[in-house]
Symmetry: C2
DNA sequence: CTGAAAGCGCTTACAG
DNA sequence: CTGAAAGCGCTTACAG
């Protein structure tokens, strides 16, 4: 086996406890001893065995990151790597490691969380989604385990630390943006309402239309595939008052819609305006570049990790929430229209 | 603190060692004792403390995944989540956890790897890239630590277990595909040659042209941004014999090129054909859908993890390599051209 | 088939 | 300022 604290102690002619204190940079050890011990550690190539340290500290200095079950799409959702990077940045700073769930299904992931928590494999958890009836959430609350949610919880809002955008507002604003440049027929393409983010954005869309006195809403909640994009576009084209603008909430879905529109010979933004959410490189590189709600996914991850670390340092802290601001990035996918065009 | 093995032992009136054996499902424990002990474990809500188990076993049942330093682009490269999912799948099956590096720079990542290895925080490592002069690689080889590389190593090829595509062949085949449908002026847009993958693909491109008797090669190695796409397209358009087809090796770069082409009023595939690599959802959803080399990123990750687990089970096993096959997925971004069109 | 004991490699009160 | 000792919660030869 490798070099242990005892080997160092023997060579340095001190007790193992002293070596341990040198590692911890304990203030009551003389500079002299510290230097001597450190030199010997270098000589022997000593590195602390973290497994032993973890056991005695009952802490792994690791944060578990819980994802939702995978779909073909969620795999490629640019939100994930950006948020991951944000969490990684903060956690690296604070000297925590990241452990990722590997399960595919809800049940597998639940079991992993239980194992992480009970096995003391992680000191805290970040849940990367918010959905209805989530056994993971119930479990974490039940055992009072430190965690932060990325997204607004659907229950126990006041007992859970979370980081989110104001998705209602964000969706309202992007819809208002379209209204302000003359659009009246605006379709909305969101997602499954069991996820809080989709509830919020859909509500924001409704609010904006209502406040503008527009009666007609048009909402789609399809899974994100090429086919669903085609299906939606087909439906749009069949309508008497075809929408002049579309709010999508997902960059890949937006690509899918774009693709279907082009296939039908429609031009963006000339024939129809389109907007999306997230603002990864995809929005910038799409043709045309997309007007997008920048939700700052990196910052969301960063703040979630930061809140969790603070919670670990002070378990009794107030369960406060953080709202990461969003902003509209205007690109070429939306065009001002006159009243004439508005009603085709 | 939580329930320990001693609590269970006391209640079940057996020794802690017996409880331990029940957990391990040791064959020499009677069914009767097993059942009794298990019942009590349930009653008390006992879960093994993995930190303690890790210490005595000197193993963390965790695999470290080492990424390369981040760029704005690499963050969104769809290869990463797909490979991650592949690794996760296999590792979940084998009951290993995943620990991810969090560093931003080469130096930070190197330090993390050292800490992972020396601190015994991981049992094995998967390196997600292959580049020249990589201190991480040197270090892992020096301390003879179990690892698998995803990509072909640039040195010590025979001492390293790796999983890769045959990138030379893949690039040759996609270039030959373009040749076979009539293209003669084919540009290539790759990446920094310090990465083995880019060396290989560039070579494949060259080989295909050479074998077809085409003298002229045209190679770009830009970073992946909107601006570099514009720059490249500008250069292409200035040429006397403008290429009729472009091989790109990255889906986001391909989007960038598409975008720049459209901005200049060119049509794909009518005016210029374009192909790419990876085959994530992006290729499918792009406009037009992209002819792509499917490199099976999920499978690459899966096989890498599988090889590593095998290596951990049998440290003396032959350091064999695995080549994951690639295939060309034909979509609408390439059009057959006649000899007339070939020379504009 | 089961138990008593040692030990994994640290950390941390408690003495001095 | 430093050391001796106990202990974190398991596992695993060694006995019987």
């Amino acid at each position: 086996m490798g070099v242990t604290i005892k080997d160092v102690a023997k060579r340095a002619k001190v007790a193992p406890s002293t070596v341990s204190r040198v590692i911890a940079d304990h203030p009551k050890i003389t500079q002299e001893t510290k230097e001597r011990v450190r030199r010997i550690m270098d000589e022997l190539g000593y590195h602390p065995n973290l497994l032993a340290r973890n056991l005695v500290r009952q802490s792994s200095q690791t944060i578990g990151i819980v994802t939702k079950e995978t779909t073909k799409h969620s795999l490629y959702d640019p939100f994930f790597p950006a948020a991951l990077k944000g969490m990684g940045n903060l956690l690296h700073e604070k000297d925590y490691s990241i452990q990722l769930t590997t399960g595919e299904t809800k049940e597998e992931i639940y079991q992993e969380v239980v194992k992480m928590v009970q096995g003391k494999n992680v000191d805290g958890i970040i849940v990367l989604y918010s959905r209805d009836d989530d056994p993971v959430l119930t479990y974490l609350l039940d055992c009072d385990f430190p965690f932060v949610m990325l997204g607004k919880p659907t229950v126990h809002v006041n007992e859970i630390m979370y980081v989110d955008n104001d998705n209602v507002k964000a969706a309202r604003e992007i819809t208002e943006h379209l209204l302000s440049i003359g659009h009246r027929q605006i379709a909305y393409i969101g997602g499954d309402l069991k996820f809080e983010v989709h509830k919020d954005r859909e509500q924001g869309y409704r609010e904006a239309l209502q406040m503008a006195g527009v009666q007609e809403t048009l909402i789609f909640r399809e899974s994100i595939t090429k086919e669903s994009g085609e299906k939606i576009v087909e439906q749009l084209l069949k309508m008497k008052h075809r929408p002049t603008a579309v709010v999508t909430t997902d960059e890949l879905m937006c690509l899918s819609i774009l693709s279907a529109l082009y296939a039908k010979g429609l031009r963006v933004p000339e024939d129809i305006a389109i907007t999306t959410f997230t603002d990864s490189l995809i929005s910038e590189l799409a043709s045309p570049p997309l007007t997008t709600v920048n939700i700052n996914p990196f910052q969301l991850g960063y703040e979630a990790a930061k809140s969790l670390v603070e919670l670990l340092q002070d378990p009794d802290m107030m369960k406060r929430n953080i709202l990461v601001p969003t902003s509209i990035v205007t690109r070429e996918s939306c065009k001002k229209i006159t009243e004439n065009e508005a009603v085709i």
